[in-house]
């Protein structure tokens, strides 16, 4: 088996037997090392018009409010040196409060919520901050192994400012007992790195009497490059 995990590797390996879907999708040949800095080039400049007002409020697109615990999710997008990643696209998606995605491929027998699609996007500001309003997603069963349930999570896609910063990840919630049995979460080899995928309860960033506050900072690789015009 060639799982190609480098000793200093922070990300999960491609081949992780506990997550069945990796078996036929993980490359087995060695990866080609590109010259240093090859991916540290300016990335795409996403026009401001790409994000419309309200795209960061996942609770505002139905006839009434969606079911579930309303939450305000804020955080900062930073690079490895702690510098803000500015004006960069953040896209999120998630299951509804009963653990069902508004997706034709989701066969989980839990109700759809007509007031919740579960997709949002925003840009970070000049300090790297972002903010979403949403509901806490439900856990759901999946077919990976007997009694498999995914912990509650929100998917994040970060474009970053250079191709080397591109990241897709998942955010988990503190104290979730399902984290211990989740192969996706546990595919990250280092415990401290795993815990960086867990958000923090931060009540005062919520809305008093209305919404819980959670904070989730995301750290990308460092990059010298930024998109043109940013």
């Amino acid at each position: 088996m060639n799982d190609m995990t480098r000793p200093d590797e922070l990300d999960p390996p491609y081949l992780y037997p506990g997550y069945r879907s990796t078996a036929l999708r993980a490359p087995r040949e060695p990866l080609l090392e590109l010259p240093a800095g090859a991916l540290d080039v300016p990335g795409p400049t996403v026009p401001r018009e790409f994000v419309r007002s309200g795209d960061n409020d996942l609770t505002a697109h139905g006839k009434s409010a969606p079911l579930g615990e309303k939450m305000v999710l804020t955080g900062r997008l930073l690079d490895g040196e702690g510098r803000p990643v500015r004006r960069s696209l953040v896209e999120i998606w998630q299951a509804n409060a009963s653990g069902r995605y508004a997706h034709p491929g989701d066969r989980h027998d839990a109700p759809l919520d007509p007031n919740f699609v579960g997709a949002g996007r925003t840009f970070t500001d000049d300090e790297g901050r972002y903010r979403f309003v949403t509901i806490k997603p439900g856990a759901y069963p999946w077919q990976n192994h007997p009694y498999a349930w995914r912990p509650q999570h929100i998917h994040f896609s970060l474009l970053g400012n250079a191709p080397v910063q591109r990241l897709v990840t998942q955010m988990y919630f503190p104290g979730d007992p399902l984290l211990d049995i989740d192969p996706v979460y546990n595919s990250v080899p280092d415990d401290a790195a795993r815990r960086r995928m867990i958000c923090a309860l931060d009540l005062e960033t919520g809305i008093e009497g209305v919404a819980l506050g959670y904070r989730f900072d995301i750290v990308l690789r460092g990059a010298k490059s930024t998109p043109l015009g940013i």
Binding site: S21, W93, V219, L220
Partner: protein, 174 residues
């Protein structure tokens, strides 16, 4: 400090609603260029189609420069994002990149990929690609041809991607 990085996780099977960009497979630029179509199939280690992947592309403009910011459009120049279909097929329409050796940077995200797979497709003859210093480790390898698109008629290129197994595509260390 780099150790404080947030780790990668799989995109999973349910990203489509959130990450689908309208007309994301029609890559635009500020300047005119020769329009081309790049298409093919993505297959797994059993040769089965990968029907739930997202593919992103990034490339130089027809003039060989970093694509200029878009004006009067909601999408960035030079960047493509498409989904594979039921049969593992993808298709992007773009302009032939400028520069000495035209190539497109490609990333794949999918269920079963705990981190993105990065590669590159060259729109040039295998002989010319073999001379690229960035690929010197592959100079004598038959695997180099997995990075070369095949011309398929006027302004069309075909490039199939094999994630694993016989004919496995060359992927890059991220």
């Amino acid at each position: 400090m780099a150790e404080a990085r947030t780790p990668s996780q799989t995109i999973g099977p349910f990203f489509h609603e959130a990450l689908r960009w309208e007309d994301g497979g029609n890559v635009t630029f500020a300047e005119p260029g020769r329009r081309i179509v790049l298409s093919g199939r993505v297959l797994d280690g059993a040769g089965a189609p990968v029907a739930d992947a997202m593919m992103e592309t990034w490339q130089l403009s027809p003039a060989g420069r970093t694509p200029a910011p878009a004006t009067g459009s909601a999408r960035p120049h030079g960047f493509g994002r498409v989904e594979t279909g039921k049969d593992g097929r993808y298709r992007i329409e773009t302009s032939l990149p400028g520069g000495e050796l035209p190539c497109i940077e490609v990333s794949f995200f999918a269920r079963g990929l705990l981190k993105a797979l990065r590669t590159r497709v060259y729109l040039a003859s295998e002989e010319r690609v073999r001379a690229d210093p960035a690929l010197h480790a592959l100079a004598g390898s038959p695997r180099l041809k997995t990075l070369v698109a095949a011309p398929a008629g006027a302004n069309e290129y075909r490039w199939d991607v094999r994630l694993q197994g016989e004919g496995e595509t060359v992927f890059f260390a991220a």
